[in-house]
Amino acid sequence: MRVELSPGLGFTGEQEMLRQSVRAVLGEQCPLPVVRAMEQDEDGFPVGLWRQIAALGWLGMLAPEEYGGGGRSFLDAAIVLDEMGRALFPAPYMWTVLCGEVIASHGAREQRARYLPMVASGEALLTLAWTEAAGVWRTDGLVTRLQGGRVHGEKCFVPYAGSATHLLVAAKDGGGRTVVCIVRRRQAGVTAAPLRTAGWDKQDVVTLDGAAVEEVIADGEAALEQALVLGTAMQCMVMAGMAQRVLEMTRDYAKSRVQFGRPIGNFQAVQHHLANMAVDTDISRAMAYQLAQRIAEGKEYALEASLAKAFVAQAAARVMDTGHQVHGGIGLITDHAMQMYFLRLKPLTNLLGDADFHLRRVERAMPAMAAGAPR
């Protein structure tokens, strides 16, 4: 019985081994009770496990070898993210790797040399401080200012700001240009106030009150655009992993839960629910992995990232809703895995633009589509 369908890529033996090893490590060290315990934990992630995944090379896998990284394909990172979604691994893995990639692509040589080794070793925990009170993923209304090597402003919905070591802060400089400031988190001018979110993930309001800036990435526009599209692709992988697990879990439950003298999976209404979940999951995985492959091949992928998120965010939400429906009352118990997946989808669908935001990006790309009449 095949619940896990092929996304249509031939994974190498090495990639299959990577998947198995991530699944094994997280399965052993981060079962759902640990995930649940992290809700009330100040850091919000198992610190010991963070060190372990650094040692396993997952944190530095994308960074160039000269900076202590593994220089591996994005597809490898995609596999890790897929498995992390599956396990609901509660940690700023995605954010740290994402910010590392932004520095790798847009930082100056000294900046790469300064931060990337720390990312790979697990010492640095990076996060993105972009949105402000308006809650939008744009650079035109940014209020945060860089002035004389110091940054002033207030950032909202900053993931894991409580435990981060560095923030990548979107700001405007004196000339009104968009820049990304790299700011050490632990200093007098930076405070983080946790928000209480539905998903129990860590998001904070960060106040920058003349915080000292360590480094400035000058081409902020390009850096943030990359953060947006690459982060979106990473989220699609995480969501695809979550959907896969919920599909499997719900299928298993439907086979074991007996009502009216037979497993509820015998009822066609339930079968159709599961079939719909399979369709949504399968398409999400195919889209997410093909996007990952495109990134790995170094192709342009901004539009594909938005297309994927506009689909996957909605599809994964449908999978969660339907999973709940099939589980009945038991799935609503707050300790139940179903409820945990349902809630933890929210930060993924919301941060870096929701489905609607990405749909609007697709809309903006339309003038270039079908520019001539179809053949």
Binding site: V143, R196, A198, G261, Q325, G328, L332, N350
Partner: protein, 393 residues
């Protein structure tokens, strides 16, 4: 009160509607609402909720449609409809299991002794019941319940386990379905009992569900119930339960309509960071407009339901259509609300930045239950297809 709730009210009922609103303004205090929203006290059986229900009892509203001999006011179904809608709109404690299930059942099938012992107390809001139906292995298929009631002299001895019996920890009595005949076909071996919630051998273990609602696992470990607390004849419980259910088909729609009003109101407010109101976005407006259309749809079938009940008919299929459409609509409203609010839509009520105090976030978080409890959407569709359209089972 917003436009969306202005359902047609006959002139002779307008005074009653105004009286209910007046009552709610006076008695639905902050304490009552907060206690209910805490999720710890079921639908309103905490200290404040009970005081509120007793106030309702003083006006005769807990037995609004009951005959005077049972402590009721003998009013029409339309009165009951108005009361239910107004209370739901205000997020008041619900009337609960006593007035809506136990009362009607006792009036039909109870002994004179039971009527005397319980009906006046229910009507006055002094006796509260928890609903004791669901078991770990008996949810949608309630008739397969196993909790055993064994006859022993003048008593029954209860042994077994219930789950999701929400108000057992705060109620005075449990309205319990149990198996009295293990040999008979499953529908023919069930009996209904009134069980003192403080009986020896009855123990309660809390479980918390989506939206922070407390419910319970309840263990019955040789709980003794006097025979006089059996409803009607033994083994006819399923029949009693089903007929009583038909009489009390109120699914107030004003709660979700209030949510929609809140969302629309929110969309008209200035946004944090100085952005223009959400409603100025054509896509947001379109999405809300679609929900307003659906709100009108749901109101019309709810109103039709009240009318049919008022005619004395037993609107089975209409009830299934209403339950199904209403609850799925409510989920759509919750989802649209949190999605329109974007990043802010993830904030829990305990977050100072949460729009509308986090009410819509919580509504959405709790909303999966709506299509599961009280007969799931799948079960409603089965009923509509087989009983309504007479398709083969």
């Amino acid at each position: 009160m917003g436009y969306l709730l202005d359902y047609p009210v006959a002139p002779e009922l307008q005074a009653f509607q105004e009286e209910v609103r007046e009552f709610l303004r006076a008695h639905l205090t902050r304490e009552v609402v907060e206690e209910r929203q805490s999720g710890e006290w079921g639908n309103g059986l905490g200290r404040h909720g009970r005081r509120f229900l007793r106030e309702m009892g003083k006006r005769g509203w807990l037995g609004l449609t009951w005959p005077a001999e049972y402590g009721g006011l003998g009013k029409t179904v339309m009165h009951r409809f108005i009361l239910a809608e107004e209370m739901e709109y205000a997020d008041a404690p619900q009337l609960g299991t006593g007035p809506s299930i136990v009362g009607p059942c006792l009036m039909l099938y109870g002994s004179d002794g039971q009527k005397r012992e319980f009906l006046p107390g229910i009507a006055r809001g002094e006796i509260a019941f928890a609903l004791g139906y669901t078991e770990p292995e008996a949810g949608s298929d309630l008739a397969s319940l196993q909790l055993a009631a064994r006859e022993d002299g003048d008593e029954y001895v209860l042994r077994g386990q219930k789950i999701f019996n929400t108000e057992t920890h705060v109620a005075d009595y449990v309205w319990l379905a149990a198996r009295t005949d293990t040999q008979a076909p499953k529908h023919k071996g069930i009996s209904l009992f009134i069980v003192d919630a403080h009986s020896r051998g009855l123990s309660v273990q809390p479980i918390y569900t989506a939206g922070d609602h407390r419910t319970n696992i309840v263990f019955y470990d040789d709980v003794r119930v006097p025979r006089r607390n059996l409803l009607g004849e033994p083994n006819k419980g399923w029949y009693y339960l089903a007929t009583a259910l038909d009489l009390e088909r109120f699914f107030p729609v004003s709660g979700v309509i209030r949510q929609l009003e809140l969302i629309i109101w929110h969309a008209k407010q200035p946004r944090p960071g100085g952005g223009s109101p959400l409603i100025e976005d054509a896509l947001v407006r379109r999405r809300l407009a679609e929900l307003v259309v659906q709100a009108q749809a749901v109101r019309s079938i709810s109103y039709r339901m009240a009318w049919l009940l008022g005619q004395g008919s037993v609107p089975n299929i209409e009830a299934s259509i209403l339950k199904l459409y209403l609850r799925e609509f409510a989920q759509r409203v919750g989802r649209a609300g949190v999605e329109i609010m974007g990043l802010y839509g993830q904030l829990r009520p305990s977050s100072a930045l949460a729009p509308l105090g986090g009410e819509v976030e919580k509504y959405h978080r709790a909303s999966p239950v709506l299509t599961i409890s009280g007969g799931s959407s799948e079960i409603q569709r089965n009923i509509i297809a087989t009983r309504g359209l007479e398709l083969p089972r």
